[in-house]
Symmetry: C2
């Protein structure tokens, strides 16, 4: 592979330029209509979020240049937010002339034609309308890879979920000393784990907010209970969708939840709620600081998705149900989480 296009110029999309460039692949980074400033800054200096210049071989494209960005690219990475996926992927399909493999960094659920669905399903539906669904070569990327760290050569393991042997080979060719790639055929497991971990990390954050100061950081039994419960529930959801629990018990689940629980926007959102902010208020406060609490959106979408696709399952997921009660229905944080303990085990 010589050229790959990357759609989106936020954290993760931009960080992918590093392993690509390190492997001699020219990264073409296209920014959405929300990213023009990120692209402009990256042309002359640092990427404003990654706080360092992108690799020299990176070619930057403004939002108006999508056609040029993807022309002749041998594969396309999509790294926009879950809300951005359908509009960006739709626009991509308008300009794409050949059916090239798609690698999705986007995590979460998407809404297409008013229906909440897994992003890979929305992608398949849209792609099918243009090239026929069987022409789609799709890979969902998961694992504990924070962009800022990847850009600094901190060892970072990714898991690529794909049914395509060719895409799996491409995935493995992206490795460097610090960017490690494993592959699995369990697309549902990778994709759902990536979305769900943002939801469950909010619970860890709430616990941090509730007890971090009050208990001088002596509340890790509770956090461990929540972490463990999250993994148990994620495995149940993945299995209900015919995925493999082993995917949850590895990088896509355990690994990615670990990194997300230690830091990041969803843990931060949870912490705000744990310290007393109403969830909607916490979401808006973060939004005003240009921080997207994806877990809050994923919880809303995931609640709808679970109810429609796996009726009765939420009732068997006490932590998911508790997060829904707290974030969507105004239930009190500490009482609800402690009550969950009694039903979880």
């Amino acid at each position: 592979m010589k050229t790959a296009a990357i759609l989106g110029a936020g954290y993760m999309a931009s960080a992918m330029t590093f392993p690509l460039a390190a492997n001699g692949i020219t990264p073409r980074l296209w920014g959405t209509w929300l990213d023009d400033e990120l692209i402009a800054s990256s042309r002359t200096g640092e990427h404003p979020r990654l706080k360092k210049p992108l690799p020299e071989s990176t070619v930057l494209f403004d939002s108006s240049d999508l056609g040029t960005a993807v022309e002749g690219a041998e594969c396309i990475f999509i790294g926009v937010s879950s809300e951005g996926f359908v509009p960006v992927f739709s626009r991509l399909l308008e300009v794409l002339t050949d059916a090239v493999p798609i690698f999705a960094l986007t995590k979460g659920f998407s809404v297409l034609d008013g229906r909440v669905m897994r992003t890979s399903e929305a992608g398949r539906e849209l792609f099918g309308r243009r090239f026929g669904a069987e022409a789609l070569v799709w890979t969902s990327i998961g694992g504990p890879v924070k962009a800022y760290e990847l850009a600094r050569e901190i060892p970072s393991p990714a898991i690529f979920g794909t049914q395509s042997d060719e895409a799996a080979r491409t995935a493995l060719s992206l490795q460097t000393d610090y960017y490690r790639v494993r592959t699995t055929g369990d697309v549902a497991g990778v994709e759902l784990s990536s979305a769900l971990k943002n939801i469950y990390a909010m619970a860890i954050g709430m616990c941090d907010g509730l007890y971090g100061e009050r208990m001088a950081r002596n509340y890790h039994n509770f956090n461990s209970l929540l972490f463990n419960q999250a993994i148990l529930e994620m495995a149940m959801i993945v299995e209900a969708e015919s995925g493999d629990a082993a995917t949850v018990h590895d990088l896509a689940g355990i690994g990615d939840l670990y990194v997300t629980a230690q830091s990041g926007k969803n843990q931060h959102f949870g912490r705000l709620v744990g310290t007393g902010l109403a969830p909607e208020e916490a979401y808006r406060k973060m939004e005003s600081e240009d921080l997207l609490a994806e877990g809050f959106l994923a919880l809303k979408a995931g609640t709808t998705w679970l109810a429609e696709n796996h009726p009765g399952l939420i009732e068997r997921l006490p932590l998911f149900a508790t997060l829904k009660d707290i974030c969507l229905d105004g239930a009190p944080v500490e009482e609800s989480l402690r009550e969950m303990v009694r039903t979880s085990l």
Copy 2:
């Protein structure tokens, strides 16, 4: 049950008095010959480690009063260190008149007659010499329960591994609103997870030490890789010993490794090594501060135990082997851990 004896007066043994007392069971807390000061202080005020008074119904026994402490007790909890297990259990058997159920809070490997073995096996051997091995009702206790937090009613989930239905019922009767108990028949899984997590938590600590300051806490991808690798390897070891990987994928493994990675003595030991102290030096420094780095001892014992019981397995456990190289054979920390990344995935 009305009366339970607890052997050891350190953190975990002493904290068990809280759920026992809350359930109307009189806790008889016996301190070893190293614990006389802990017992003396607890008589008149706070327990020096838990920093709060023990429940009122607790009856305290000096090291010279072991016979009185266990006389008529309906079960016995052992909460001494892994090094203390064989001497304390041997002394117990000298004064014990009836074969009562044993609940082991002790985590790690024990040395009996010059052989490294699982603590439950050492217990069975010693018990067998006195009452016959078939008279032993043994339970290994695991899960993310830090004593200081349990004593403060932070929700804490424990997992009791036992083959005895009666012991499982006793275990469940110890629950409170904040102390949650689940049971499993997989004694090996619980016991090995409890020991191994102390070893693997050292790796997380090393990463904290290496990158915490230098990378301003932006190194969580690496920590997540190590956490995930630890769980994969713990499952391999447990399965080699005919235990169940599901035990590792739950409170005994994921839950307990999580709490141990966030805080505690083994993470602290790893951090010292990560910041440049030689492992033996870090061990002695902590010892001089009355802190026992159990993971360092468990690594030594575990290396011997694995080599003798599962020859060839260490070679398939890259993180375990790397910790052995660093802690026992003087290998450089950062290079070894980063090299492990290349073989782990």
